[in-house]
């Protein structure tokens, strides 16, 4: 059962989101909710079945799902609430979250702090503009990874992989393990873009050829990819004529970069850095919108999950601190309510602690004139806090009364102060 109001809502349950929820709870946030699009927690870690996770943070070498499991277990132990299989549609700068799922229907939640942890998305064929026909058999490496590791089917038999990022190299090994032939890995840059350890254990170990300074200049095939044309590029990344090579294959995987996913951030009014394509953040991972924090690949693309978890911890801690301060600020407020013959009062609320520094002036207008001596009274229920005598009151003349510093103790007990005008 969802609550109406949370201390911290985390959007996304990858390593950043799990870390944020855990640390928010540990730092004293009471009601913490994770909203996740998938049917289970863990984000992309669930399809990253290779080992190498946790070496820095946990001093253990774990497969991605096992790394995620540690934090999923902790989330459960700490009593973090989860809304799975749910899509966040909108986030407002005032920290209202609009989401929908088959289980909850459409929901509007209010929260004192938000951690954005939506991760990133893969760059696609359209974004790198590969010429040629548009047959089936062109996938991003991450999509193929999901097919092979979670859904349990192979997207092809003979592969060419464009991009030497870690996902591309890891998929080269994975597909080889499942009996496919990876004919070539092509990299536009003159250097490897993933970790060298992955070059060794994913490409070298299985004699998968890597060509640096090469790209795909054309995709061939009508219904299905039949071949790709590889070409060498110069130092301006322009194809060098005469270096074209046709490589027969039925599938092309793209591992050509990741882009922070900030559609929701933009809706919430979060300002983005054009270089990282993630939010501008301060040292606490707070964005330019107070109470909205961000962590992980949504901020900038990491190469190690350990540091994503760490960023999640920081953002979660900061979000909890913000939420607790917000709770305290609201708890310190006393409402000012119009009583007999008062139309309105400004201010509408008052910080009780403000009396520690100075008297606090209330301004108001009456509804009816009283041509005779009156008391302007400030009451907590029936208990008089302060009053002031006037010779008359008229709607056209603003009435003021100062709550004196000596009323500090009386005001601390009150939730609401009522102001009224009575005849003396």
């Amino acid at each position: 059962m969802l609550k109406q109001k949370y201390d911290v809502v985390v959007i996304g349950s990858g390593p950043a989101g799990l870390g944020a929820a855990i640390e928010a709870k540990r730092a004293g946030a009471e009601d913490v909710l994770i909203i996740e699009r998938a049917k289970e927690l863990g984000g992309i870690l669930q399809q990253c079945i290779h080992n190498g996770f946790g070496v820095e943070l946990l001093k253990e070498d774990l497969p991605g799902p096992a790394y995620a499991q540690r934090f999923i277990d902790e989330v459960a132990q700490l009593g973090v609430e989860t809304l799975l299989d749910a899509m966040v549609l909108d986030v407002s700068p005032h920290r209202h979250i609009y989401a929908t799922s088959k289980w909850s229907g459409f929901v509007e939640l209010e929260t004192r702090a938000i951690v954005l942890a939506m991760g990133c998305r893969e760059r696609t064929r359209a974004q790198i503009r590969v010429p040629g026909t548009r047959p089936a058999g062109v996938y991003t490496a991450g999509t193929a990874q999901r097919f092979v590791n979670i859904e349990g089917f192979m997207p092809g038999e003979r592969f060419v992989i464009l991009g030497s990022g870690d996902i591309g190299m890891i998929m080269a090994r994975r597909l080889t393990f499942e009996g496919a032939k990876v004919k070539r890995v092509l990299e536009l840059m003159p250097f490897l873009t993933g970790l060298t350890r992955n070059y060794v254990q994913c490409l070298l170990d299985f004699d998968i050829p890597l060509q640096l300074g090469h790209t795909v200049s054309r995709i061939l095939g009508n219904k299905r990819v039949e071949a790709i044309e590889a070409v060498q590029v110069d130092d301006q990344f322009k194809p060098i004529p005469g270096t074209e090579e046709i490589i027969p294959c039925d599938t092309l995987l793209l591992s050509v970069g990741l882009i922070p996913e900030n559609e929701l951030s933009r809706k919430a009014g979060v300002a983005l850095d054009p270089v990282t394509r993630g939010p501008f953040v301060d040292e606490s991972m707070q964005t330019n919108v107070p109470g909205i924090f961000a962590a992980g690949n949504v901020v900038h693309v990491y190469d190690l999950v350990d540091w994503v978890t760490d960023a999640g911890f920081l953002a979660g801690r900061s979000a909890a601190k913000f939420a607790i301060a917000e709770r305290k600020r609201i708890a310190r407020q006393v409402k000012l309510q119009s009583g007999d013959n008062i139309r309105y009062i400004v201010p509408h609320v008052m910080d009780k602690e403000s009396l520690a520094n100075s008297d606090q002036r209330l301004q108001m207008r009456v509804i009816r004139p009283i041509e005779g001596r009156v008391w302007v009274e400030v009451l907590d229920g029936e208990e008089l806090v302060t009053r002031r005598g006037q010779r008359y009151v008229r709607p056209g003349e603003m009435v003021t009364i100062d709550i004196p510093q000596k009323a500090y103790d009386a005001v601390q007990k009150a939730d609401t102060l009522t102001v009224r005008v009575v005849q003396r």
């Binding site: 290779h50 497969p63 991605g64 799902p65 096992a66 999923i72 350890r197 060794v200 170990d205």
Partner: protein, 123 residues
């Protein structure tokens, strides 16, 4: 016997140090380029008995997914990788599955267990 230099890249951690291993036959004289002592162990192992972790998936009956990811608990000899994969292709588990559950004990007599990499609930 003459000294030889073998170059290799340590894969123990994400740093990926480039190692230069000076050796006489299979006896290591010295290792250069490593940033920590794990590099020495790696050079030793890579020279005489190269080993790798093997992450893959096995079939599952009655689970929320048709597969569960598994991984060797420790590196196994490199020449056994494809034999192990063939062995794991024969395995079919029944959900629920718990992380760390032994999927294949003492795989191919290596003394290394293959473990489930996640919890997988039954439908």
């Amino acid at each position: 016997m003459a000294e030889e230099v073998t170059k290799m890249i340590c894969i123990t951690c994400p740093v990926g140090c480039s190692l230069e291993v000076t050796r006489e036959g299979m006896t290591i004289i010295k290792v250069d380029g490593n940033q920590c002592k794990r590099g020495l162990d790696y050079a030793e192992s890579e020279l005489v008995d190269p080993r790798r972790m093997v992450p893959t998936t096995v079939k599952v009956r009655g689970g929320v997914h048709p597969l569960v990811p598994v991984c060797t608990a420790a590196p196994i000899p490199k020449p056994l990788i494809f034999k192990l994969l063939a062995e794991l292709r024969k395995v079919e588990l029944q959900a629920p599955i718990h992380v760390g559950q032994v999927v294949l004990g003492n795989a191919l007599g290596t003394g290394v267990d293959v473990l489930a990499s996640r919890n997988l609930v039954a439908i």
